[in-house]
């Protein structure tokens, strides 16, 4: 998927003028955030906090041994009968999948949700090769019909109302009109069931890979993840290289913390551990299993101060907690990952300059770190990215000019004094107590009342006060 992050400001402005969108997003994220709190603290706040630290340590241990664990995982996956492929970038992921499809004479593909497949633009690559590809997670199916990207990593149609989904199904699938969500879902179930049964290849993501056993792990609620890994002849899993964990114990911990943080469920409906393709004597399951280990920018982050972002387990809790996401929705962020995690990942995995608005799309309130099940310090990284943007010269000229002027003024008492005097006098010329766009400062001033400068500067007040005291002392 090509990043549209460069258009964040314009896209966010459009979202801000769309109250129905904001209502839908606010309702959904508030609910998810409330359920997350209930689930994480079901056994008390101390227990929940201890779980968070335990889960954070599990991810950090895995990252500290990442190359070794990847090799161990590869060896065990292979011993279990899977074929392991490595992909350095998006093009290589698509090439691997097309190659597998050709080898197995695949014409139809069903997919369960995979954010990595969105990163690499897999659906377009398959369609160009003449292979029919159908998303089967209900939310992904809806946005595929609508021709839109997902707006949330867990609930991809968070931005769409029930009425909008109804109209889409009526227009595109010929569904008899209904306002009953269950009837709509049943209609989609029928359509997708036929697709599962006739597809040659299933594509999934992967939530974890357990290194010590070579186990591919998925969590889903709808059951489409089970369908695409049980019914088609071939199963291909796309998994980021950072998703490996060392042991079953670390997995058992993380696979429970994940749904608690994502949807407030104690367990996902289907917590799935796959140890290879169908075995001799088994009546179902795929004949072949391929696991594609995807880098696509991750190894470049590994040695940097941003390495901790690789610990992310994609629960979406930071997105649900973010006041900026609540205001703009997910599409404004312009790439696969929205919200605070996206504001860090998009500049790192795509292009820092292109995504330069995203690290600023934060009030730095810190809620994203507070709710992160693996305690990733997103606010720290947002600040570091802002620093990097300045260092790389990617800030607007006005920012640079303003900061240079500030720097010069604050280093000279005389200049500072004159500037303060100028501000006292100058504010008389500006409207007070109103929000007005002020030329190039409009982005800031249009939504804020101008600050009122004191009639007397602190320095003047201090000097006067000391004179007063001197008089007292002398009397």
């Amino acid at each position: 998927m090509r990043s549209q992050a460069a258009k964040f400001v314009a896209a966010a402005r459009r979202a801000l003028a769309d109250p129905p969108l904001q209502d839908a997003v606010k309702r959904a994220t508030d609910t998810a955030a409330r359920k997350r709190d209930l689930a994480m603290f079901a056994h008390g706040r101390d227990h929940g906090e201890a779980l968070r630290q335990q889960a954070a340590a599990a991810r950090r241990r895995a990252l500290s041994r990442l190359p070794e664990l990847l090799e161990q995982a590869e060896a065990h996956l292979t011993a279990n009968g899977a074929t392991v492929l490595w992909a350095a970038d998006a093009a290589e992921v698509c090439a691997h999948v097309l190659d597998i499809a050709a080898r197995h004479h695949v014409r139809r593909v069903t997919k369960s949700k995979s954010m990595v497949s969105e990163e690499v633009g897999l659906n377009d690559a398959l369609a160009e090769a003449g292979i029919e590809v159908l998303e089967t997670d209900l939310g992904e199916y809806i946005i595929q019909l609508a021709g839109e990207p997902p707006s949330h990593i867990v609930t991809p149609v968070i931005h769409k109302s029930k009425e909008a989904i109804r109209d889409l199904f009526v227009q595109r699938l010929g569904m008899p009109p209904t306002d009953d969500a269950a009837t709509m879902a049943r209609f989609a179930r029928g359509h997708l069931r036929a697709a599962f049964l006739s597809s040659d290849m299933g594509i999934s993501g992967g939530n974890f890979i357990i290194a010590e056993t070579g186990t591919l792990c998925l969590v889903t609620n709808e059951g489409n993840g089970r369908m695409v890994t049980a019914l088609p002849r071939v199963h291909v899993a796309l998994v980021g290289i950072e998703k490996v964990v060392a042991t079953l114990e670390e997995y058992v911990l993380l696979t429970q913390v994940l749904p608690r943080s994502a949807t407030g469920q104690a367990m996902a409906v289907y917590t799935h551990m796959i140890n290879g393709p169908r075995r001799a004597g088994e009546p179902d399951g795929p004949e072949a299993l391929y696991v594609v280990l995807v880098d696509n920018g991750r190894s470049a982050i590994y040695g940097t101060s941003y390495a901790e972002v690789l610990g992310c387990i994609r629960c979406g809790a930071c997105i649900n907690a973010c006041p900026i996401y609540e205001a703009t929705g997910g599409h404004a962020y312009g790439w696969v990952y929205p919200g605070p995690i996206g504001a860090v990942l998009t500049p790192l995995l795509t292009d820092l300059k292109d995504a330069s608005a995203l690290p600023h799309a934060s009030s730095l309130c810190g809620k994203c770190k507070e709710v992160c099940p693996v305690d990733i310090d997103l606010p720290r990284m947002l600040l570091d990215l802002r620093y990097d943007l300045v260092e790389a010269g990617h800030m607007p000229w006005l920012w640079d000019a303003g900061m240079r002027a500030w720097s010069t003024a604050t280093r000279s008492p005389r200049l500072f004094h004159s500037a303060a005097r100028a501000a006292q006098i100058g504010q008389g010329l500006l409207p007070q107590g109103r929000k007005v766009p002020l030329g190039p400062l409009g982005g800031w001033s249009a939504s804020r009342e101008l600050p009122r400068f004191a009639r007397q500067s602190f320095r003047a007040w201090w000097a006067a006060r000391n004179q007063e005291e001197d008089r007292h002392d002398q009397s």
């Binding site: 609910t31 079901a42 227990h47 340590a57 241990r61 500290s64 190359p67 990847l70 279990n80 350095a88 089967t136 209900l138 609930t155 991809p156 029930k162 989904i165 969500a181 269950a182 709509m184 049943r186 989609a188 069931r193 599962f196 010590e212 056993t213 070579g214 609620n221 709808e222 059951g223 089970r226 369908m227 890994t229 049980a230 042991t247 114990e249 058992v252 911990l253 429970q256 608690r260 949807t263 104690a266 409906v269 289907y270 917590t271 799935h272 551990m273 140890n275 393709p277 169908r278 088994e282 009546p283 179902d284 399951g285 880098d295 190894s299 590994y302 040695g303 390495a307 901790e308 690789l310």
Partner: protein, 217 residues
Amino acid sequence: MTSRETILARLRAARRPFADTPPPGDYLPVAPVDDEHPAALVEHFAARAEALNCTVHRCPDERAALAAILDVIGADRQVLCWDFAHIPLPGLGAALARAGVAVAPPSDPSVRVGITGADAALAATGSLVIASGPGKPRQVSLLPLVHVAVVRADQIVPHLEAWLATVRARGLDAFQAASSTVIISGPSRTADIAMELILGMHGPGELHIVVLEDTSA
């Protein structure tokens, strides 16, 4: 260099993040269970499963269990079913035959009810652990709209961590021998349409759990 070599070399050349993270100590269970006595585990399991929209049939004996299953099957003439050897109800085959209910091939998508056993059950979360294998098709718990799972009370363990301890005790080879192990917690669900909870999105919309409370009698 292959991509594999390139990626691994880049990771190896980098400064190791989190090199000072301590090794794991004792793991705090994510969902602790206060009372781990067998009778309490059944209570806990049934309460959690019902909270997930499962129907739990607590049966004192095999006859009650068979009656509960035939009641779910109703007037249907066909079911999907695991090999009877993997379901802890010795009389099931005969009871189905007597009722005129045939077992359809597992891939038949038109059948409404699928009957399985389970490898374990988790009290803390009302979950079933189900491994695939010969005679245990995964489709039986996936394709039908109604899934009936039969578990013995003594198969209920406190939580996922306790299940893992049994896996370790048996050895990892036994775990890896099953190409698919799925932990099922309630019926298939979605909330993708305006956050409304809908059951039975792709998998079963009804999950009946038949608990055999006393298998020694």
